[in-house]
């Protein structure tokens, strides 16, 4: 099999060369298909192109940026979103964000960055906007038939056959909605955080925010400033890391400790001490004591929540027991009367266009992938960006895609080596890429430590080196 380089035009793919269920299949020979033009899809395209592959990308929206394009219907981003990871952790490792930008850029800057990346590396001519992938099925020779149609279902479906597929559809757009007794009868308004766009939605309302991921904490902070009242419900205590510690962005301090090779326990100790000496013991505000050490839940980076707790503008409450017609009952028996409930309970991954078995998806919806990216026995399929890192995502997904492109190259040049690497990856299918004992929660399915993960990537890249093999 050879891979073709250069631009492709799936519309003029020539005559159909195969058939599937009575439909024509257009063969795109060695081209790789990328699903989604968010950060993960863009870096997949850039790195595949760089290693000489032709790429076709399908994006159901009308522009690039994925989650960071808040004009997109499904974008989870709200007006006040800023990065939680500082610039060195938030940029692609070979494409720095401008020096003139702040430590923690705003969502509109991230979008600008992604648009610039797409232009700089000439990716847009490869993207089919307003086109949704509805089916991905295996074809002979470890290739893939990809069925697309216009977003919204207008027009017919088309099938193209690809040498490989990268699934970069994001995992922060399909809301995770908890079920509560009495919720249907509740007369107040209930929205998921995905529908929260602007602080104006909270103005002068009595707001209950459920969940203390980064989304829930951001919304509680907005509510503290805009709403008539704000209750923040959490089912456990957390560590709220400020954006700055010891005079620099907190994640840079953390990596300084990593650079000094401090083990996890020492880092946890130091982080606990630092928090204790700055914000102090949060149980004095009525918050539960954390049931875990720091780094054992997905890091919350928020300097303002503690500030507003201390101003009484956010009232911490426990888990919700049930809803009534006009009120919400908490597990302690307390009853509150919000007009607006925001479920900031996170998002589910969703791969409805592919047979879940190919990704090892279990009954709870959790895929089983080597390094959260490479499915078992499918060497020409990868999932990009399905990670919940303790730092920024962009560098990690960049390296994932450098490795995948290399893997495809090695399959061509040294097939035996490719098989050996694939086997080794599969042997580590259930490995977790973090040393911390993370809490058992669906939100931690893809939780990783960026250092542990990048070391594994380094190993993979070294194994895939073709030097000396040629």
């Amino acid at each position: 099999m050879t891979y073709s380089a250069g631009y492709g035009d799936p519309e003029s793919g020539g005559p159909a060369t195969a058939w599937r269920d009575g439909w024509p299949v257009y063969d795109r020979s060695g081209t790789v298909c990328v699903i989604g033009a968010g950060p993960s899809g863009l870096t997949a395209m850039k790195n595949l192109k760089e290693q000489g592959f032709g790429v076709d990308c399908y994006e159901r929206d009308t522009s690039v940026g994925g989650a960071w394009n808040w004009r997109h219907d499904r974008s989870p981003v709200y007006a006040s979103t800023h990065l939680i990871s500082s610039k060195p952790f938030s940029q692609f490792p070979d494409f720095p964000m401008p020096d003139s930008w702040p430590d923690y850029p705003k969502h509109s800057q991230v979008l600008e960055y992604l648009e610039h990346y797409a232009d700089h590396f000439d990716l847009k001519p490869h993207i089919w906007f307003g086109t949704e992938v509805v089916k991905v099925e295996p074809a002979e020779g470890e290739r893939w038939d990809v069925t697309t149609r216009s977003t919204g279902g207008y027009g017919g479906e088309r099938i193209h056959r690809y040498a490989a597929v990268v699934i970069a559809n994001g995992h922060n757009w399909s809301p995770k909605r908890p079920e509560y007794e009495g919720l249907e009868d509740f007369k107040g308004e209930v929205i998921h955080a995905a529908q929260f766009k602007d602080a104006a939605q909270l103005r002068n309302k009595k707001v209950l925010v459920i969940g203390a991921g980064n989304t829930g904490c951001d919304i509680a902070v907005e509510a503290a400033q805009q709403a008539a009242r704000c209750w923040h419900s959490t089912r456990r205590g957390y560590w709220y890391t400020p954006k700055y510690t010891l005079g620099r962005p907190a994640d840079q301090v953390n990596d300084l400790m990593l650079w000094l090779k401090l083990p996890l326990r020492a880092r946890q100790f130091l982080a606990h001490r630092t928090l204790k000496s700055t914000v102090g013991d949060l149980t004095r505000f009525g918050l539960p004591k954390p049931d875990h050490k720091i780094y054992e839940t997905h890091t919350i980076v928020n300097s303002q929540l503690v500030y507003y707790l201390g101003h009484g503008a956010v009232s911490p409450v426990g888990d919700v027991a049930r809803f009534h017609r006009n009120s919400v009952e908490l597990k302690g028996g307390e009853v509150i009367e919000p007009d607006l409930v925001v479920l900031a309970t996170g998002y589910h991954p969703s791969f409805d266009f592919i047979d879940g078995n190919l990704l090892g998806v279990d009954a709870s919806g959790r895929p089983r992938l080597a390094m959260h990216a490479f499915p078992k026995r499918q060497p020409t399929l990868a999932v990009a960006g399905l990670l919940q890192p303790d730092s920024g995502l962009f560098p990690l997904v960049h390296w994932q895609m450098v490795a995948f492109a290399r893997m495809l190259r090695v399959r061509e040049a040294a097939p035996a080596k490719a098989v050996a690497v694939q086997r080794r990856l599969e042997a580590e299918l259930d490995r977790r890429w973090t040393t911390a004992k993370v809490k058992d929660s669906t939100r931690h399915w893809f939780e990783i430590s960026h250092t542990t993960y990048l070391k594994a990537i380094q190993r993979l890249l070294d194994e895939l080196s073709l030097e000396g093999a040629k």
């Binding site: 060195p88 401008p98 990593l258 070391k455």
Partner: protein, 260 residues
């Protein structure tokens, strides 16, 4: 390829104001932008003399950056090689399209470091000073002061061929500045740059009559990138300021048209 960069993440380079000179073609023919990186002591002006306009006339958008502490960029007495490479990657990434980087003298070493952090479309190393003991031994009078905190001395006679009129040579030499002491040390120590990302084609250009870079050094650098140098006999170290400045730049642009 180095994936773990904890030190770089923990200590990001401080931002500075940077001088970028540019010349853009009248018509955008879709050719890649070319970013020129001057060597130690030199500023963007050395390329603004002839090469920027000439490159633009041939249809390539042309840019030249002054490394921090040089030309009209902000002062940076403590700058490291990494900070200089950061300056190059910052400017390259800000350009509308994937750029070609052309580095001169020690700027070629800075460029080589930048190539490990930005996937250039192609790169050209002009009269490259890659440092190490060889550089110091060949030019003891130039480099000794650097070891003791002085500047690398670059007298006009070392930089230009005899064809360049003496007063022009003196004028240029008078405009030279100096790199930071730390960067000079790092140059003499000569740490090998990490391999380039994105596998760009690399061309090495120089003169056998360069009095700073020996023929052997030139060939060694070229061999490191899997090629042989393109030579312009009779020219001095500062190819872009010499009387026959047109020849090397035309050869470089011809090469770019073919390979990038």
């Amino acid at each position: 390829m180095k994936v773990m960069r904890a030190r770089e993440w923990a200590f990001p380079i401080a931002p500075v104001r940077r001088e970028v000179r540019r010349a853009t073609p009248e018509l955008d023919e879709g050719k890649p932008p070319v970013l020129f990186v001057p060597g130690f002591g030199h500023g963007a002006w050395v390329f603004a003399e002839h090469w920027l306009e000439h490159t633009a006339d041939r249809g390539f958008p042309a840019y030249a950056v002054s490394l921090r502490g040089h030309g009209d960029s902000a002062k940076a007495p403590k700058a490291t090689l990494r900070a200089y490479a950061h300056d190059v990657a910052q400017v390259a990434a800000s350009l509308p399209r994937r750029a070609v980087i052309v580095g001169h003298g020690a700027g070629a070493l800075v460029t080589a470091h930048a190539l490990a952090r930005y996937p250039a479309r192609a790169a050209v190393l002009l009269s490259p000073v890659f440092g190490g003991a060889g550089t110091a031994l060949r030019n003891p009078m130039l480099s000794l002061p650097a070891l003791f905190g002085g500047g690398l001395r670059l007298p006009a006679g070392q930089l230009f061929s005899r064809e360049l009129p003496a007063n022009a040579a003196r004028g240029y030499a008078a405009r030279l500045g100096r790199a930071s002491t730390r960067a000079q040390w790092q140059l003499l120590r000569g740490r090998t740059p990490q391999p380039p990302v994105g596998d760009p084609p690399v061309l090495v250009v120089g003169s056998p009559d360069d009095r700073i870079v020996s023929d052997t050094a030139l060939r060694r650098v070229a061999r490191g990138y899997g090629g042989a140098p393109l030579l312009f006999p009779g020219m001095g170290h500062d190819l872009m300021l010499d009387t026959r400045w047109r020849e090397p730049i035309d050869a470089i642009l011809d090469w770019l048209e073919k390979s990038a």
